[in-house]
Each structure stands twice: as C-alpha cells, then as structure tokens.
C-alpha cells in the first residue's frame, strides 16, 4: 500500500500541523508495526502524533525529493517546498538544508516568518535542544526585525513607533515562552538559554525593566531547578546587564560610550541591593539543597561580579549613610532610553522587592570576602561530604581568585 500513499501521508501530516486551533505539540507514537490499514497520523486534543512505523518510509522519500530539488534535478513549486520541508523538519529538525530552503521561501514572501517560527516551536516540543532549529530561529527573528512594516499613511510617527514597540514586546514575550518551555523539557539546555540571552541582547538592550522582570520571574524557576547551570548563568547575565545599565564603570555612560559632559546614570544602592538579594537567594538554596555544584558555581559568579563592580566604584555604594532605597525606587521604575516598551508580565514582580523599595528598608551589610568566609565556616559544621567539598573549594576559590585570604 505504502509507496503510493507517501505523498498523501506527507500532506496530511502538514495539514494537521498547520491547522486551527494550532497544534502545540508533536511527538512520535511508538508503534513498530502498522496495525490497521489506516493513516498513521493521530490527533488527541492539541497534540499531533505520528506512528513510528511509517517514519522510516516517509523520511527517506521526502529527504530524497528535497535533495533532488537542491541539485536542480527536480522542480518543486513553493507550496510543495513548504510542505516537504515541514514534514522533514518535524522528523529531523537538524536538517540544516531544509531550514535554508525555508529561509529562501521567507525571503521571497512565499512563507510567513510567523508560520516558520511556529514550525520551529513545534519542532522544539519534540527536540528541545535541536541546534539547527535555534540557529534558524535567530535568522527569522533578525529578518522580522529588519523588515519595516508597511507604511500606513494614516499613522503618525508616534503611532508607528508605538506599534513597533508593541510588536517587539510581543516577539520578546513569545521567545521567552519558547525558551522557557524548552528549558523545562531538557535539563541545563544550553541552546535554549543561550538563545534566550541572544534575544535579550537584540531586543531589550539596556532595558532595565525587562531585565528586572526576568530576574524576578526566574526566581521560582531556578529554585525548583537547582541543578540547572544554564538557568543560573542566565541570572548572572541579567545581573551583569543590570549593573552595566544602572551603574556603568566610571567614565562611561550606560551605552558604553565615553561622556565627558553628561553625568552618567548611577544607581549604586540599587546595584548593591540586587547583589545582596541574589546572594541571599543562593544562600537559602545552598542551605536547603546541600551538595549542588551549580549553586556554589552561581555563588562564585555572583560574588565575583559584585567584587569586581566594587573595585570599579571605590567608595560608592550603600556603606555610606542616607536612604539607599529611595534612589533605587526612582531608577528602577524607569525604562531606559530607546523604544519605550511596556512588557506585560503574567506573573508580577516579587512583591517583596517592591515593598522593600517603597518602604526604604535599609540595605543589609554589603558582602565582603570576610562575610563569605563566615558563610562557609557556618556551613562546614555538620554538613555532608559533598557539601563539605564544595564549601572548601569555594573557600579556596575566594583565597586564590578573589585574592583576600581567610
């Protein structure tokens, strides 16, 4: 029955994947033999399933067709190319050439970027690490960013700017969601998290509000995934961006340029509060979940960032008097210059954060190498062997790398 039915099969697979309401997940149903003389495509709620027995026939058939096209030995119209690449990539998302064919289709307008991003999202539901899927996604996003929306005579400049901002915000949210889903599907998913960083670097440069929201919304996630090194690295990235935006090194403005005339923005208490808050988080987690290398690695990073920042701002920060929280509130409620972007969050910022900022709660003691050594010593009593060895390694790291001996 089979060879003649392959074209029909591949068509039905895509009709289902492109349907309305959209499928949100695709998977292979382990089913080594065809049981009945019926289609191997299965649908349950919003999930698309493909019985595994048909894949070994389907894939080589469509694979071969695409390569013949690529060698100009076979003509395929645009719709056929859309269909074939869709089928192929759902089965083998690392097939770079198929993604490239789709790039060409997007470029000539035969395929919408949104539709292509949707395929990527589906592919990631089954293959959350797929490097080629993430790589292709970045190209599509860049293409979207560079493509100017059609000029509407009735729009003012301000409106265009606002609409652009909204579109950007939507794209940003969508990408955060795709990354979050992939991060949940595979532990310490390097590709998902490095994509997430790339998106912020491109779409949210210098946007303090976005960084703060991300820091806040990731708190419960990392607390529930204490082995996820990539998740914690993401927080290190956010902290680094925030310190750069809130209090750049002396002599630079927040966009990194030398500004002799302008007073660079300086929200030192806010920076100190961020670091204290982060160290508190990692201390809680280290105590609650002993023996996790990721947590100790995070501590090293956070303390190092803090230590280096203090060296670049000698004599600044919350050790002086005054109400440090006041400065923090004014700064943190502003977005940075650039495309004004109100990002709607499903979950609100940590209420503790906001209360503290508003109440003018005095900042805790700024962290030092000494306080870090005290933390280590406090833990060494009565801890297990793994925790002990990480604690001692941290102590050694403080002495050798940071350079202030115990």
């Amino acid at each position: 029955m089979f060879l003649s039915q392959l074209p029909v099969l591949s068509k039905s697979a895509l009709l289902l994947s492109g349907s309305d309401p959209p499928r949100d997940e695709i998977g292979l149903i382990p089913c080594p033999e065809a049981r009945y003389n019926r289609s191997p495509i299965v649908m349950v709620e919003n999930k698309l399933g493909v019985e595994s027995w048909c894949v070994k026939f389907l894939l080589p058939y469509v694979h071969n067709k695409l390569l013949l096209y690529r060698q100009r030995r076979l003509w395929l119209d645009r719709q056929a190319l859309v269909d074939i690449t869709c089928t192929l990539l759902l089965l083998n998302p690392d097939l770079t050439t198929a993604w490239n064919v789709r790039k060409e289709l997007v470029e000539c307008g035969a395929l919408s970027p949104e539709r292509d991003l949707y395929l990527g999202k589906l592919a990631l539901s089954k293959s959350p690490k797929s490097p080629e899927t993430w790589i292709h996604r970045r190209w599509v996003l860049l293409h979207l960013l560079q493509k100017a929306p059609p000029a509407d005579q009735n729009q003012t400049d301000a409106e265009r700017s606002r609409l652009l901002g909204e579109q950007l915000a939507q794209t940003l949210q969508q990408e955060m969601k795709v990354c979050a889903d992939a991060a949940c599907r595979y532990p310490s998913n390097y590709n998902a998290w490095s994509h997430r960083i790339w998106v912020l670097q491109r779409l949210a440069k210098g946007n303090v509000k976005v960084f703060l929201d991300e820091l806040s919304s990731m708190r419960p996630w990392v607390s529930a995934h204490v082995s996820d090194h990539s998740g914690f690295h993401y927080r290190q990235f956010l902290l680094q961006e925030l310190t750069g935006a809130l209090a750049p090194p002396a002599g630079c403005s927040s966009n990194g340029e030398r500004s002799a005339v302008e007073e660079p923005p300086h929200d030192l208490p806010a920076v100190q509060q961020l670091f204290c808050h982060e160290l508190e988080l990692v201390s809680d987690l280290i105590r609650s979940f002993p023996g996790h290398e990721t947590l100790w690695s995070h501590r090293r990073h956070v303390f190092f960032l803090w230590h280096r920042w203090k060296e670049q701002h000698p004599g600044d920060g919350g050790d002086e008097g005054g109400d440090p929280a006041e400065g923090a509130q004014t700064r943190l409620s502003q977005t940075s210059a650039g495309v004004p972007m109100e990002v709607e969050r499903g979950c609100s910022s940590d209420p503790q954060d906001i209360k503290r900022l508003r109440r003018g709660v005095p900042l805790p003691q700024p962290p030092t190498s000494q306080t870090e050594h005290v933390f280590v010593s406090g833990l060494l009593d009565g801890c297990g062997p793994e925790q002990r060895s990480f604690a001692l390694a941290y102590r050694k790291w403080l002495d050798t790398v940071v350079g202030v001996p115990s």
């Binding site: 080589p60 770079t96 050439t97 297990g384």
Partner: protein, 332 residues
C-alpha cells in the same frame, strides 16, 4: 539528612577494562555499508564530519588503508560548491563545519590537490564579520566554533594571513568569561566544547598567552567526576566526548597533569561495547563513530601506546601534521 547523589555514573565491576582496538576498527570499517539504513539517512546532514571522525580514528589505530580512498575523494569533490565551501553530503548546503572536515580528510590522504584550494580560502575569508567573528555560512549565525573552523581550515592550507587575525582574536577574547572559560558568543555560558574551540583557536593564532591558564585549568579539572569521567559543565553527566574537549584543552594549556589520568582511562575503557565495537557516550549506551573517535583520541592523549599520537589542537594524527609542517603552540 539524606546525602546528595552527585550526578554521575557508576562503573560496573565487569565493564571493559582493556582496549579492544580490533573491534573498533571492524565497527568503523563496516559503518555505513548499509546506506539504506534510516539512522544513516537521519545523520546525512553531518556526513562529512562523520567521515572525518571515522577516518581519523582508523588512522590513529593504524587501519586507514581499510577505507576506500578513491570513493571518499570523489565524494568530497562532489561536495564542493561554486562558492568554495563544502556541504556535508551531496545536495546539501555548504557550511564552514563541513569545509573544515573536508580539508582535514584530504590532509589525512595528502590529497589537497583534488579540490580548488583558492576557492576554499575565498569562502572562509568571506565569512569573517566586521567584529572579527565568523559566520557558519551565508545565513550569518555567529559562534566561536566557527572561529575555530576558519583558522583551522586556513592553518591546514597554510593561508592564515588571508583573514584579519587580530580582529578574529579580539572577538574570541570578548567571549572569555570570568571563570576563564568561553561560550559561543559574548555573554554566553562557559562550555567545554566551546572552550576547546577557543583554546584551539588561540593556539593556532599564537595567542595562548592571553588565557588565564591556571583559572581555566581549574575549571576544566573540576569537570572530573568520581567515576573518573569528565562532563562539560557543572552537574552534567560524564560523556566520553568530553574526554576529548576537556582533555585536549588541558593539554593545550599545559595542565593535563591536573586530571586523574588513571581514573579517566578507566572511564573511557568502560564506554566500549565489547560486542559491537565502538564507544558510547557513557557505559551501556549505543555506540557511534563520534564517541569512538573521541574515546580513542582521549586515550592517545593519556599516553596509550597502541594508538598513534594525536594532535590536541586539530584532533588529527601528529604524523599527518608533521608532514604538512604544522605545529600549533602548546603551553608548558
């Protein structure tokens, strides 16, 4: 209070403990002989690299003559595109990754004359960006892996001066993290694979002094787990390919003695499959040519006498590089 289980594997007492070189040679020689195999089609998108892995491990084991030289050269020729770059297989699109693999294979066979070398150089040169980084192909993805592919390709062809080396170095150094490691782009997480690419890059461009070797060496040797195996980042499981990425990096920066060699060797040997031949990522898993190469290459770095000496920067037999006259820097 319960003790934490460190993420690791436990080596079984009956795990393989001696090197089964003949079985591995048989495994590689037979690999891909059934080209209709579904798995084989699935991996066609990286075929050129797959061939490089297979041929290199055969050469390291002194068994290269079992492979079909002419068939492979013809295949490679058919994969060079007009732009000069090579694709993974016939009909696929060209990319830097497969351009490097193609050049490496041709070096093994001393057959660079079979292709248009100038065109390759033009392709690589054309992928360098303003900031010194390299795109993987015309579509523009930036990754430090591609910086390595670019300089390795040109080094093998003796044409490094055709790119802006200083700018390329600047970009790679901008990807150095505070822990001494490197990620795929500036601001990315340190990862043993990326670290290998960046240390290899710095070796080929004569810039190893820019590294903090003690700091990086420390990060790298912390990859060793109780089982003896190496992982790529904190709290990941050990994987035999990290016996290459981590070990080669340590060798390049002159700190390979920071690893417990005998426990690592024991782990690598345990990843062999006594029945099918080949190595898997960890004991008991399915074998493949990728892990087979890196298992054998790792053992070579550890001093295994039955295997030829392997170059830690290019993952090719040292005698091949000696023939070309390429001796990348290593720190002592």
């Amino acid at each position: 209070m319960l003790g934490t289980q460190i993420k690791d594997v436990i080596l079984k007492p009956d795990a393989p403990s001696s090197l089964l070189l003949d079985k591995h040679a048989d495994y590689i020689a037979a690999y891909g002989s059934k080209k209709d195999d579904y798995e084989y089609t699935l991996s066609e998108y990286l075929r050129m690299s797959g061939i490089y892995w297979g041929l290199t491990v055969m050469d390291l084991m002194g068994q290269l003559d079992r492979m079909n030289l002419q068939e492979i050269i013809d295949f490679i020729k058919a994969c060079q595109h007009d732009c000069g770059g090579f694709s993974a297989s016939i009909g696929h699109d060209p990319h830097l990754l497969y351009t490097l693999s193609a050049v490496q294979i041709l070096c093994l066979y001393d057959s660079l004359h079979a292709i248009d070398v100038d065109k390759v150089v033009e392709y690589v040169k054309g992928l360098q960006q303003e900031d010194g980084s390299f795109a993987g192909d015309k579509w523009g993805e930036i990754d430090t892996r591609f910086s390595f592919c670019a300089v390795a390709t040109l080094a093998l062809l003796g044409k490094m001066e055709m790119i802006n080396v200083d700018r390329a170095v600047e970009f790679v150094l901008s990807c150095m993290n505070f822990d001494g490691g490197f990620g795929c782009r500036p601001g990315s997480e340190s990862h043993a694979g990326q670290i290998y690419c960046c240390t290899g890059f710095l070796s080929l461009t004569g810039q190893l002094h820019q590294l903090n070797a003690d700091l990086l060496g420390w990060w790298l040797c912390e990859r060793q787990l109780p089982s003896g195996g190496l992982n790529g980042r904190p709290e990941k499981l050990p994987d035999v390919c990290y016996s290459w990425w981590v070990l080669a990096s340590l060798k390049i920066i002159g700190r390979i003695h920071w690893i417990d060699k005998s426990r690592l060797r024991q782990f690598i040997l345990a990843c062999q499959d006594e029945e099918t031949g080949g190595f898997a990522d960890r004991p008991g898993d399915m074998v493949d040519p990728f892990h087979t190469l890196f298992g054998v290459a790792g053992l070579s770095l550890l001093g295994e006498e039955q295997v030829k000496a392997v170059n830690p920067v290019l993952c090719m037999p040292e005698d091949v590089l000696q023939r070309i006259g390429l001796q990348p820097d290593l720190l002592s």
